[in-house]
């Protein structure tokens, strides 16, 4: 009786619970994205410095974060921090820490790329006017890089939302966990509910990410010219 | 030179991109050993006309014959026809991932299945003729525009085409490089090659052409020997067009 499975979705407040779970995912993503954008801009600026020490440190940071699966980073922070520093981080806090570390690396590299693509004479003509370094960035460089960066930053948001699905594996109660709970609770009355519930979760993710992807593509095209 | 034999015949060709005709009822014969130069204002359809001749553009009606055979039908094996009709483009279009010699050899080896050694000998001879033998192993990006265009001519020549089409081949070149390319073409013309040339270089047209064909608004307006055409054009439109190339001296 396959057509019965979907019934579970509308029993009690199940659908609302799923949405609540999705909200946890999105909330963590948004907090991490906002932090990543601020820290990433700073990191990107630091990465353009000619100083060999900052270059080396940022490079190692970037490469390590990028090469490790995000789930490994989650394990490192969630299990490792507790053991090493004796602080008990909750799953949600660990997630924000990890995704911010990761997002900062990604964003930093994007910012660096955008900054070095600005022709050198833009910096020079700023300097020729007597502007301080900070002022050159503030008034000349950053406004030019923003257009290039905003679509990429929006894209990072969808990647963040998708990656945040991993937090179920360190025990955070989010949309997949709620889905599991609903399926468990109805195991005997509606045995085939898993198909419908997981299918719903699949489309919820799609509905969360797709409009954002479209927005990024649209902005990218619009600002190309 | 026997110039009576018709090599390429175009009868009542019509070309339409869907918003009005680009070419309306154009007919033209190209005889063996003849050099035709197509001129006319931008957008008059001369490049489109040239591209119809080797099937890069489809045509809506009319027919094209090569050596008396219809080549404009649906069943045409264009890859066979195109071996007989060489073409050189405005933007050179060398293949950037291949060296000069590999660019030249692609056609002989892959299309004509010729023996590599023999083809390579000929490629070297042709490259020497255009003064580029020492560049045979470099990539196109290391060449100047004029050099690229000479390689492109060699790439077309090595197929031993019966007729060569040149589509504004000097339009993208710096002025000082135009000459080296035109010289190669002039030499080909003297050697008896059959050529159809689209160009904006009036001096060159005058020097190289057996017949000048003036196109305007998608039709052939006037066709004559170069001296007659440039000295006393018969139609108003041709006169007006030629006037755009001369400046009146300020003293007059």
């Amino acid at each position: 009786m396959q057509d019965l499975g979907i019934r579970v979705l509308f029993m009690g407040n199940n659908f609302i619970r799923l949405l609540g779970g999705l909200w946890i995912t999105i909330k963590i993503s948004l907090i991490s994205v906002v932090l990543s954008i601020f820290l990433g801009i700073l990191l990107g600026m630091v990465m353009t410095l000619k100083n060999p020490i900052t270059r080396c440190i940022t490079k190692v940071y970037l490469e390590f974060i990028r090469i490790m699966p995000q789930l490994v980073l989650l394990f490192l922070v969630y299990f490792g921090a507790t053991k090493t520093f004796g602080v008990q981080l909750s799953g949600q806090v660990s997630a924000v820490v990890v995704f911010t570390l990761w997002g900062t690396a990604e964003m930093g590299d994007l910012v660096r790329g955008a900054l070095i693509s600005i022709p050198k004479h833009q910096y020079e003509s700023g300097a020729a006017l007597g502007l301080e370094n900070i002022q050159i960035y503030r008034y000349i460089i950053i406004p030019q890089t923003l257009r290039r960066l905003i679509p990429l930053a929006i894209n990072l948001t969808t990647r963040m939302i998708k990656t945040t699905s991993l937090i179920v594996l360190i025990g955070v109660v989010e949309v997949l966990k709620v889905a599991q709970q609903i399926i468990e609770a109805n195991r005997y009355t509606v045995p085939d509910s898993a198909l419908w519930i997981y299918g719903t979760v699949f489309f919820l993710y799609f509905l969360a990410c797709w409009p954002i992807s479209l927005l990024a593509t649209w902005l990218e095209k619009k600002w190309k010219n | 030179m026997e110039k009576n034999e018709k090599l390429l015949e175009i009868h009542h060709l019509r070309k339409d991109y869907g918003n009005g005709p680009v070419l309306k009822d154009v007919s033209l014969d190209v005889h063996k050993g003849e050099v035709l130069v197509l001129i006319g204002p931008s957008g008059c359809g001369k490049s489109t006309f040239l591209r119809c001749m080797n099937g890069l553009e489809s045509i809506q009606s009319g027919e094209i014959l090569l050596d008396g055979q219809v080549i404009s039908g649906d069943k045409t094996k264009w890859s066979e026809v195109r071996q007989k009709i060489g073409m050189v483009f405005q933007s050179y279009e060398l293949f950037p991932h291949m060296t000069v010699i590999d660019n030249v050899l692609l056609g002989p080896l892959k299309v004509q299945k010729r023996n590599r050694q023999e083809a390579e000998e000929e490629a070297k001879k042709l490259l020497e003729r255009v003064g580029l033998l020492d560049k045979k192993d470099v990539y196109p990006r290391q060449l100047s525009g004029g050099q690229k265009q000479r390689v492109a001519i060699v790439r077309a020549l090595i197929m031993k085409p019966e007729i060569m089409l040149f589509d504004e081949v000097t339009a993208a070149l710096d002025p000082e490089m135009v000459r080296e390319v035109l010289d190669v073409m002039l030499e080909l013309a003297k050697g008896g090659s059959t050529m159809v040339i689209v160009t904006h270089e009036m001096q060159f047209a005058r020097a190289v052409a057996d017949q000048v064909v003036f196109l305007d608004g998608g039709e052939i307006v006037e066709m004559d020997a170069p001296e007659a055409f440039f000295n006393c054009p018969k139609t108003k439109r041709a006169q007006k067009f030629l006037n755009t190339f001369t400046f009146e001296s300020k003293d007059e």
């Binding site: 699966p69 394990f75 490792g80 699905s165 997981y198 799609f206 | 279009e93 991932h97 990006r141």
Partner: protein, 214 residues
């Protein structure tokens, strides 16, 4: 430390094997999809773009849950390994398609024409002129996708596969060997991914050096 090392070796083999299979299928799916888009084949084009949007806007973990826990309810039973490979290919196919497509689109149409003009057939132009150039443009993106997909295999433990994460979690949960388990986990992924990442960077540099561009 060595007493658990063999567990990691076994797990790494599993990860690599499933990863390689998934990447292979991703490349095939990606190539087919990009050709469908390149030639603008009427109905298929629509299907491909729906697939790409679905695949790119949902997480692999959710795709796996659906395959592994959802599908059996309508009688479609797929083994853990099968789910892992199908899921990874479903995800990777769209990424590979985008990489191939951007390469193909970067080649000017006039290259096709000049190939035709010397008498090459359409297939020959694709083979000798379009593909070699498109591929060299796609390589950086393809390499990035390979690394991305291998990293994505880390969620396989969710469908009961004894991969690296699974082993690490076991050691932490059952034996409280947290430090050791995490250290080995990091080392294992470094050994897996660092050579690929370096090779990709080397390949990219070489291609840029050979830099075609007119």
């Amino acid at each position: 430390m060595s007493e658990y090392a063999h567990l990691y070796v076994e797990a790494a083999k599993l990860t690599l094997g499933l990863g390689a299979a998934g990447i292979l299928f991703s490349l095939i799916i990606g190539l087919v999809c990009s050709l469908v888009q390149y030639y603008k084949i009427p109905v298929l084009k629509r299907i491909v773009s729906v697939y790409i949007e679905l695949s790119r806007n949902t997480p692999l973990l959710v795709q796996l849950f659906f395959l592994y826990f959802g599908l059996p309810k309508i009688g479609i039973m797929i083994s853990s390994e099968g789910c892992a490979v199908i899921g990874l290919s479903f995800l990777g196919g769209s990424y590979m398609a985008e990489a191939f497509r951007s390469g193909l689109e970067a080649i000017e149409n006039s290259q096709m024409e000049s190939g035709l003009a010397i008498g090459l057939s359409h297939a020959q132009v694709m083979r000798y002129i379009i593909f070699p150039q498109a591929l060299s443009i796609s390589v950086p993106a393809l390499c990035a996708n390979v690394i991305f997909l291998i990293k994505e295999t880390s969620v396989f433990s969710a469908v009961a596969l004894a991969d690296l994460m699974y082993v690490a979690k076991d050691l932490i949960g059952l034996y409280y060997q947290t430090d050791e388990a995490l250290l080995m986990l990091v080392i294992a992924y470094l050994i897996l991914l660092l050579p690929i990442s370096l090779a990709a960077a080397w390949l990219e540099r070489r291609l840029r050096y050979a830099g075609f561009g007119n």
